[in-house]
Symmetry: C2
């Protein structure tokens, strides 16, 4: 039983009102894998980098039991780079530059051993590539898929085709409204579930997340944070914690999906407490469970008899 | 033991993308009292209207066990009128006109019998008037106070003075940020609690509500609604349900405050399902408890052992 993660790996240059980092470890597959690594091992990663990708990052991922057999390292190529600047309220960010580099010609090849993975987490990349991944899978599998407004606006037809093949779609609230062309979130959820994914998660940033299945709606609280150092990777950390927990428990019942949403939220809260992937590098399952219980205390209420 | 409600009574002309009503029953004291009336009786109302205030509305309130001994009816005067228009997404509204009329000279006089009320709910009116109410109270009491950006911007000093005398402040997220001059909600909450109220509730519209006390943070989910007919009065209905439940249970412990927040949220959800006060006119305590349980199902999760 294994968990396959496909997405981007990159070098991020990020500034927030508090600090700035250059060429820090980034990319959707990176955050997803690191986050999921606390729940199950090994994580099978498929992605692409250039030969400039620092060895220390390779070592970091291997130390987290991430299997890099599917990582293409292009000799002489340059790794994907992204730079962003967050403003004072951290909800607004400007992209300063995006250099696709080796990622431009990424063709995800799933190693033979990975094709039987029972859980697949598709990081936010071109839906055409996400479909190529699924086409290579040989056994039945449970697929969690992330996407973003960029693909909804530019590759909607490919995305719609893909959605028929995924079990869970994770998007944020503005993307849900955009995809469904509907301002009401509950109606949007219904419309998107009709496009294919039986399970939909709508992330609402500082307002938590909503889980929709055919028979339940679940509202997960947001962890109350006084300080967010760097929002980069929060959504990927969510997807990694969510899928990692499902893989660990091998249980996709509605009750367990709720817990997976909380574990995803917990991982996102750890992620934004530090710059880049730092918040995901030195955790323990015990600390993650403590935060899970904090989420429980945050949202639980009981009426006296 | 009784619950005193002071605020505005008005005639609202409201249009939404779905319908329009003219001179419908409105005002903060109206929504608060109707909402609270399902939890305890009688509700003691203090407010002002003109002689044009329709008898059917007087009858409606009396049928809900609202004691109108403190309602000033100004012979020949005109009732406060407000008109608003909601846009497609219902989060944006334009005020078309506001006619203060008799409300311009409102001087809240608390009838002798009402001055011993143990619970006071101050609807969203000028903080100078809210203070006048508290100055007339003779016994110790638990005060819940609503306000809005208008008063934060124009009467901040008076509001700050008032805040030292109230137990609970209820505001929305943008008002909390404005009052605390701080973009982070958790830090805002801390700053506002330092201004006086030991309990703070921050309403977040379609994202639920947060409760802050000296030792807990509680996150209440929003009821997932496919259709909101008229958002007018949602905040007042929340305040009425919240205070009404506290008055009913005579218990202001942290655990019970959480339940009161859920009952407040339930009443707000009933309010917006119909135009004007219609959503609050024909409820039963059983139906309200059913919705309370729906909120529980919406937010509860349990990890398997």
């Amino acid at each position: 039983m294994s968990l396959l993660v496909v997405g981007s790996l990159g070098l991020d240059t990020v500034s927030t009102p508090f600090d700035k980092v250059e060429d820090a470890l980034g990319g959707s597959a990176t955050y997803i894998s690191l986050s999921a690594s606390y729940f199950s091992a090994p994580i099978n990663l498929v992605g692409i980098v250039g030969s400039d990708f620092p060895n220390k990052y390779i070592n970091l991922m291997e130390a987290h039991n991430i299997n890099l057999e599917g990582l293409q390292i292009i000799e002489g190529g340059k790794t994907f780079r992204w730079s962003g600047k967050y403003h004072y309220d951290l909800n607004v960010r400007d992209t300063l530059f995006t250099e696709l580099n080796v990622f431009e010609n990424f063709n995800p090849v799933i190693p033979e051993r990975f094709r039987k993975s029972k859980f697949v987490c598709l990081g936010n990349i071109d839906p055409v590539l996400q479909m190529k991944v699924l086409d290579q899978m040989t056994d039945s599998h449970f697929t969690v898929c992330d996407t973003m407004n960029y693909w909804i606006e530019r590759k909607k037809d490919d995305l719609i085709k893909l959605l028929k093949k995924v079990n869970v779609l994770i998007i944020n609230d503005s993307e849900a409204r955009l995809l469904a062309q509907e301002p009401n979130l509950v109606k949007s959820a219904k419309a998107i579930r009709n496009m294919g994914p039986e399970i939909l998660i709508i992330k609402k940033g500082e307002h938590g997340a909503l889980l929709f299945t055919h028979d339940i709606v679940f509202s997960a609280p947001a962890y109350p944070m006084e300080m967010i150092y760097d929002p980069t990777g929060a959504g990927d950390s969510f997807a990694g914690g969510f899928t990692g927990y499902l893989h660990r428990t091998q249980d996709v019942s509605a009750e367990n999906l709720k817990c997976a949403v909380i574990y995803g939220s917990a991982m996102a809260s750890f992620c934004v407490e530090k710059f880049s992937t730092k918040g995901l590098e030195n955790l323990s399952y015990l600390r993650i469970q403590d935060r899970f219980r904090e989420f429980m205390n945050l949202s639980r209420f009981n009426e006296k008899e």
